[in-house]
């Protein structure tokens, strides 16, 4: 690792001030950023750790929505939303391994927007709202391609608001070594329609599979998407799977997710 200064502000306001300095970068749970620093793929002058900010942690369930503080670790989400939003709890419970889930945060995952991360699928399929220190961003406007988001420099995710669907499920095929999804699909059924978000598959990161959404909004059953196949154009091809294989898995994961969501 290159040398840097590490500061631990106690409030969001202090963190925002620290991040305004040149060469400063936010540190969430560090489960992606620290390995990146070890590989010398990043060279911040100052890391602003968000881990000491109590106001960023916590889960509240109010009516038909779940609000999760940006600094809340996956293990806490898995535990706290198990009753209110079981599909989201189940997603959180299957990220990485127990040690990663005790450190990694929802805000960190969404800010990084890894094209194979789990949380972006839940946020997009749920139509979540990403709340920052400056504004509220709809999930549909937030994800802007591989590792790209609507966040400005120094902007911090303070909270994520998930509307609770009538039925939902997250189905993933895991790449066994990295434990990231090879392909995963989050299906969420709301009164006004079904949303389907796909992660792990596309070069541009998480996306909505609109053909499946239309079919499932008309008939929420696995057979409704039986004949549909996703286009392999723009899908990731690597040693773990070809673009065609990933496109095929999208259909399989979607049907399984619908069957499990009931």
């Amino acid at each position: 690792m290159y040398a840097f200064e590490l500061v631990r502000p106690a409030t969001v306001a202090e963190a925002v001030a620290a991040l305004a300095e040149d060469g400063a970068q936010a540190l969430g749970g560090g489960q992606t950023l620290i390995p990146t620093l070890k590989a010398r793929l990043a060279m911040p002058e100052k890391l602003v750790s968000l881990g000491g900010i109590a106001e960023l942690r916590g889960v509240t369930v109010e009516g038909d929505e779940v609000r999760i503080g940006g600094g809340t670790p996956h293990a806490t989400v898995a535990h706290e939303v198990a009753k209110a939003y079981p599909a989201l709890a189940s997603l959180a419970e299957r990220i990485g391994d127990p040690h990663v889930r005790n450190r990694g945060t929802i805000g960190g995952s969404l800010a990084n927007n890894d094209p194979s991360a789990c949380y972006p699928a839940a946020a997009l399929a749920s139509g979540a709202t990403i709340v920052t220190n400056k504004r509220e961003i709809a999930a549909d406007d937030y994800f802007q391609g591989m590792f790209a988001t609507a966040l400005d420099e120094g902007e911090i995710i303070t909270e994520v608001i998930f509307p609770i669907p009538q039925a939902a499920h997250y189905e993933k095929i895991r790449q066994p070594a990295s434990r990231f999804p090879l392909v995963a699909v989050f299906v969420a059924k709301f009164a006004d329609g079904v949303r389907v978000a796909v992660t792990g598959a596309a070069e541009n990161g998480v996306f909505r599979w609109t053909e499946a959404e239309e079919a499932l909004s008309a008939d929420f059953s696995p057979s409704a998407v039986e004949g549909l196949s996703a286009d392999s154009d723009g899908m990731i091809g690597d040693m773990h799977g070809t673009p065609e294989y990933r496109a095929h898995l999208i259909g399989v994961m979607t049907r399984r997710a619908v069957a499990a969501a009931g």
């Binding site: 690792m1 840097f4 631990r8 489960q31 620290i34 390995p35 040690h99």
Partner: protein, 162 residues
């Protein structure tokens, strides 16, 4: 250089670290607690697992300064003060849950966490909980057996105490 203070195995400690000093480096090089191992340094193998404020974490994937003020338990804090092995440690010995021993500190810390969260785990739950801990000798089978035996023993101890 910044100063860091924490409680490690019940003892208040402090020292000077850099921003980039990992918790595992502070434990091993600063405090000479070399029971916590670094297997991969890429946060994949789990040999460096310690407990921070009661949660198991990979100490190679957290900066020492992030643990400022925290309660840390390492493998050195697991045995009794007289050196007697914990139930989990004794079960690893009895069931030959180790060969070279390199991954063992992380395995014992992880197993201890699991049994605190879930006192009677199924075999599948044990294997799933060990997802972040890699062993390259045992084939995991005896590790799982050791954890099952420790769970049974801790369970019967609890019944006896009631």
């Amino acid at each position: 250089m910044p100063q860091v203070s924490m409680t490690v195995n019940g003892r208040k400690v402090s020292g000077e670290v850099e921003g980039r000093t990992l918790l595992v480096e502070f434990l091993r090089e600063g405090l000479r607690l070399t029971g916590t191992h670094v297997g991969c340094d890429t946060a994949q193998c789990g040999a460096c697992v310690v407990h921070v404020n009661g949660n198991s974490i990979k100490s190679c994937n957290i900066f020492a300064l992030e643990a400022d003020g925290a309660e840390v338990t390492t493998i050195e804090g697991i045995a009794g003060k007289d050196g007697s092995l914990s139930v989990v440690q004794a079960a690893f010995q009895t069931h030959h849950g180790l060969q070279c021993g390199y991954c063992t500190p992380g395995m014992v810390m992880t197993a201890t966490s699991l049994l605190k969260e879930n006192p009677a785990p199924s075999e599948a739950e044990i294997r799933e909980y060990l997802e972040g801990n890699i062993c390259r000798c045992t084939g995991y089978h005896n590790i799982v057996k050791a954890i099952q035996a420790a769970a049974a023993e801790l369970g019967s101890n609890r019944v006896a105490a009631e």
